[in-house]
């Protein structure tokens, strides 16, 4: 089974995240880059599927040179190889452009399964799996908290507001997973050493057959027009409980007409 996991390097949520005033895009230099946490569940699920059904796991990322850190982590966890799409022409791509670029690369790698995390912790659009399924014309098995494969048929549990849907399709398919699905493994020392020898293919826009006019800031169908720090919340009232903490909250709620 040819499994491709889409991985994004994002600014660490624990460090200050910023936009750049020149072009309103993410300032990737401002914060430490880490692998998008939700993508670790996608990698883990890919490895579990490979362990059960055989095949090969390819990590696919689009991002600056520094994204190699995230690739190395995925390889150290157990992925077999990686494709890194890096080109200045890609800077500022919106979700539409990103999904187009990834579609082009998937045309080169081929796939039985494409697996993504349910969203990235920076842009949080939550649209990429759906966009890829649409572009590729294959089944969308998204927001999965359980995946079962039997030959060329696949079943998932898709989480919903009311519980979950049981969804079935045939392969090839695009899957996105939620964090409840598994517990991502930590790379072992052996895994870290092995990762150094695993192949990483680096592609520019032209190598990947990506039309530069459809990506980057110029190709984007949406744009950030302005941004500002959120106004600080008014300093709230904080009291220490002296046996009447609950009463004081009730008084506050009454003053705000909640009770």
């Amino acid at each position: 089974m040819n499994i491709v996991v889409c991985v994004k390097q994002v600014p660490d949520t624990e460090s200050p995240r910023k936009l750049k005033s020149e072009d309103n895009t993410l300032d990737r230099g401002a914060a430490d880059g880490v692998i998008n946490e939700l993508d670790e569940y996608a990698i883990e699920e890919a490895l579990l599927i490979k362990e059960a059904h055989g095949g090969e796991v390819t990590v696919l990322t689009m991002g600056p040179d520094k994204a190699t850190d995230s690739i190395r982590k995925a390889l150290a966890m157990g992925a077999d190889k990686a494709v890194h799409v890096v080109d200045d022409a890609l800077v500022g791509s919106d979700a539409l452009g990103t999904s187009y670029a990834i579609q082009q690369v998937l045309g080169r790698t081929g796939f039985d399964l494409v697996i993504l995390g349910s969203e990235s912790t920076d842009a949080r659009t939550g649209v990429l799996a759906a966009m890829l399924a649409e572009r590729l014309g294959v089944p969308q098995l998204s927001l999965a908290n359980k995946v079962e494969i039997d030959g060329s048929s696949i079943k998932i549990q898709r989480i919903t507001d009311y519980g979950y849907d049981k969804v079935e399709s045939t392969l090839p398919a695009v899957i996105s997973v939620v964090e409840k699905i598994n517990e991502p493994r930590y790379p072992s020392f052996k895994g870290i050493m092995a990762a150094k020898k695993k192949p990483v293919e680096t592609l520019g826009v032209a190598d990947a057959g990506i039309d530069a006019a459809q990506v980057g800031l110029a190709g984007a169908a949406s744009e950030v027009v302005d941004f500002a720090e959120a106004p600080p919340r008014d300093k709230g009232q904080i009291v220490t409980d002296e046996g009447d903490g609950g009463v004081k909250i009730a008084d506050f709620l009454a003053s705000k007409k909640f009770v």
Binding site: S142, A221, S222
Partner: protein, 316 residues
């Protein structure tokens, strides 16, 4: 005035509050047309009209809900082609965002997801990086498609005609690949939906175990609130995962948010920071949650929360 298509979120014919919020927003942008997919529109049409739907497009064919999102996208794409609306609004739920994304690809149109407000010209306001930054974005190409976070605006009544028009679409084979074979509804009792609720009471690590979550539920029930949980609490198995509020869980934006035994790590703040009024109970006076609160009590939640529950009950 150009139409604005509003995809109505409903569960078996019961209109979700977010649909009324979207109709309210749509009136700023043009003339709202509700789009109803699936059975049950008869009982809901009146409500959609009451909140400003000049038209209600009804696509009752059950085939449209038998597959994962793609059929709804093909229906919306056809409506966009036929009606040339000024834009399309959907709820920024998991499914709503996916519909917005696929529709954007189909129409080669720009899409804004998880906005907290929409101004004239479909300029969307985003609250990003855990609520620390407010950004405005607009669509440069095609028909604007915007997914709006539930509870971002208050629904307003503005009666309109609600003229029904039956619509249908012939689905492509590609739209019929991911088949929904069973819908499983999990227990949630009488409490409101987490993402829709006006009041949310959440418990965290300080709650200590699953049994103690009864305390959180009791407080929530006296306020008619939904129950949420921090990731620490759901990871520990004290409360079901679908109630997790945070960066990797649900984003909520209620009128009132009460955080009980939650320290307020960025993971949690990202999911609740746009709540209108925030209250916290925590024994650690240094907990970051206190930076956000309108009112906070430094104290033992096992003393403070039951007293609060009792006090609210007494005053009702």
């Amino acid at each position: 005035m150009a139409e604005v298509l509003v995809l109505v979120d409903h569960v078996d014919g019961e209109v979700k509050k977010v649909a009324l919020e979207l109709l309210t927003l749509a009136r700023r942008l043009g003339e709202p047309s509700a789009v109803w997919v699936g059975p049950g529109s008869e009982g809901a049409k009146g409500k959609l009209a009451e909140y400003g739907a000049a038209k209600v497009y009804v696509a009752a064919d059950e085939e449209l809900t038998a597959y994962v999102v793609a059929p709804k996208v093909e229906l919306l794409a056809q409506l966009v082609a036929d009606k040339a609306p000024a834009g399309v609004l959907v709820a920024a739920t998991g499914e709503g965002k996916e519909i917005a994304g696929r529709l954007a690809v189909k129409l080669d149109s720009g899409v804004l997801t998880d906005v907290v407000d929409v101004a004239d010209g479909f300029v969307g306001e985003h609250s990003i990086f855990g609520g620390g930054v407010i950004a405005h974005a607009r669509v440069k190409r095609g028909t604007p498609i915007v997914a709006v976070r539930p509870n971002s605006v208050a629904p307003e009544i503005a009666p309109a005609a609600g003229a029904e028009e039956q619509v249908s679409v012939t689905l492509s084979d590609a739209a019929k690949t991911a088949k929904v074979v069973e819908k499983v509804v999990q227990e949630k009792g009488e409490r409101p939906d987490l993402t829709e609720a006006a009041i949310v009471v959440s418990g965290g690590r300080g709650v200590g175990n699953a049994e103690n979550f009864k305390l959180i539920e009791g407080l929530a029930d006296t306020l008619g609130a939904a129950v949420g949980a921090s990731r620490a609490a759901t990871d520990a198995g004290w409360y079901p995962h679908q109630f997790q509020v945070g960066q990797t869980g649900k984003t909520v934006s209620p009128q009132l948010y009460i955080a009980v035994g939650i320290s307020g790590a960025i993971q949690h703040r990202a999911g609740m920071q746009t709540s209108k009024t925030i209250i916290a109970i925590n024994k650690d006076s240094e907990a970051p949650i206190f930076e956000l609160v309108d009112f906070g009590v430094v104290g033992d939640l096992f003393q403070v929360a039951p007293q609060l529950t009792e006090e609210i009950t007494k005053r009702k």
